[in-house]
């Protein structure tokens, strides 16, 4: 099921938490939503799930509004656990069974074992990681078509983190559409095929992970003296950041690295190197205020 978010804005009083966000989430994709704390991820999720009413804009599932029929096929792992302290894990499973026709008791049991959860244990006696694991069990017990996962590995050990990642990949292979927010960029880098980076409630960057990686590079050139002119390339629209330190010029580019490397070479650079960027680098560039315009940064060394 595809999800289309168009011009979504959510204001709380004078504060704009989400500011004119538009993204298309293709059916069957794992869509990573990245952003610093307070960037608007959780508010976006709340609007997506009908838990908050957008100030403007709209959200469509396969072109339709969020109806009870869509809601039945949707599951959510909230960032902050919404479990009931006085209830046991088994009580929560029973609630899930009553709420969702698609609840699968055998699957729920397997998941409980996967995370070594004791059904009799009450939530108030559970660690942070166990609460996250129980939320994950509940979300995956209904074989949903849409999953909204807000930090679904927080507090989990590396083994259980990997288990959650495999559950996400398995669900995606079955055709589920998954929206995933995580501060663990390495997990998003594995699980997601598309990402968007939110910054101050706005989309700072969006695209297919592999395309972003293929395009985003650092082009580093060393010149003979520190009096080199770079006006031609610094103004190029593909250059998102320019740094010069003495004889070294470092360009962060969103595409066209080979072309720009060739031009720097033709301009007399002694050495030109193209460096790959991983998702963490790309993310940090997108949220870095200085990267918002191609201002020349004069580094002091």
């Amino acid at each position: 099921m595809s999800i289309s978010i168009a011009h979504l804005t959510k204001r709380y009083g004078g504060f704009t938490a989400v500011d004119d966000v538009s993204v298309e989430i293709p059916s069957g994709s794992v869509f990573g939503l990245l952003g610093p704390n307070g960037a608007g991820k959780t508010t976006t999720f709340k609007c997506l799930l009908g838990l908050a009413v957008p100030s403007s804009g709209e959200i469509r599932f396969d072109g339709k509004a969020l109806t009870p029929q869509v809601f039945e096929r949707l599951s959510y792992v909230p960032e902050r656990s919404v479990l009931y302290e006085w209830m046991s894990a088994a009580d929560h499973l029973e609630m899930q069974r009553r709420a969702f026709k698609s609840y699968d008791a055998r699957r729920a049991n397997e998941l409980m074992q996967l995370f070594s959860l004791d059904p009799r244990k009450r939530v108030r006696n559970m660690s942070k990681g166990m609460r996250t694991a129980l939320s994950v069990v509940l979300a995956f017990s209904t074989s949903p078509e849409i999953m909204v996962l807000d930090e679904p590995t927080s507090g989990l050990d590396p083994v259980n983190q990997r288990s959650v990642l495999k559950l996400i990949i398995d669900a995606s292979a079955q055709g589920a559409t998954i929206v995933l927010a995580s501060h663990q960029i390495g997990q998003v880098e594995r699980a997601a095929d598309h990402i968007a980076v939110l910054r101050h409630g706005k989309i700072a960057l969006a695209g297919a992970v592999d395309d972003l990686k293929a395009g985003s590079k650092i082009v580093e050139a060393i010149f003979e003296t520190d009096a080199f002119a770079v006006n031609g390339v610094a103004g190029d629209s593909r250059v998102t950041r320019v740094e010069r330190t003495g004889r070294i010029l470092r360009l962060t580019v969103s595409s066209g690295s080979e072309d720009l490397a060739g031009r720097l070479s033709a301009m007399g650079a002694l050495s030109v190197r193209v460096v790959d960027l991983n998702l963490e680098d790309i993310f940090l560039n997108a949220v870095d205020a200085r990267a918002q315009s191609a201002d020349v940064v004069e580094s002091v060394s």
Partner: protein, 132 residues
């Protein structure tokens, strides 16, 4: 399929490209034999812990490059003539890339074209002694 694939998701090289290159290399080296079945998209995605659509994209590229073929309902296989074809294209790609990088490096540290030519001749003489 033998466990011939390892991807580094944290690298700046797109994951689907890493899969494409490694399967081409495995076919070129005969680690994957003609007619050998590849894991399903889902299985490989779970084994590598990477997105299934990324694996599917790699398989599509490999089909387009005629390294593998997919029979609906049966799975994906290394093409019968996959070894010769893929080994030629994969080996040529890998070699071209390595040569380009080496020449760029040579230029960047100030070697002349003539110096690069004699280095290349020396390398040829070492690895193709029968032809020199």
């Amino acid at each position: 399929m033998p466990a011939v694939l390892t991807v580094d998701p944290r690298s700046g090289v797109p994951i689907y490209l890493q899969i494409v290159e490694q399967i081409k290399r495995s076919v070129a080296l005969g680690v994957l034999a003609p007619g050998e079945q590849l894991p399903t998209v889902k299985q490989l995605a779970l084994d590598l812990t990477v997105n299934p659509n990324t694996v599917a994209r790699a398989y599509r590229d490999l089909e387009r490059d005629e390294v593998i073929e997919t029979a609906p309902g049966r799975g994906s296989f290394v093409r019968a003539n996959g070894r010769a074809g893929a080994s030629r294209s994969a080996a040529a790609d890998v070699t071209a890339e390595a040569l380009l990088a080496a020449v760029r490096e040579a230029r960047s540290i100030g070697l002349t074209a003539q110096q690069v030519r004699s280095l290349f001749a020396a390398a040829l003489a070492r690895w193709f002694p029968e032809e020199s």
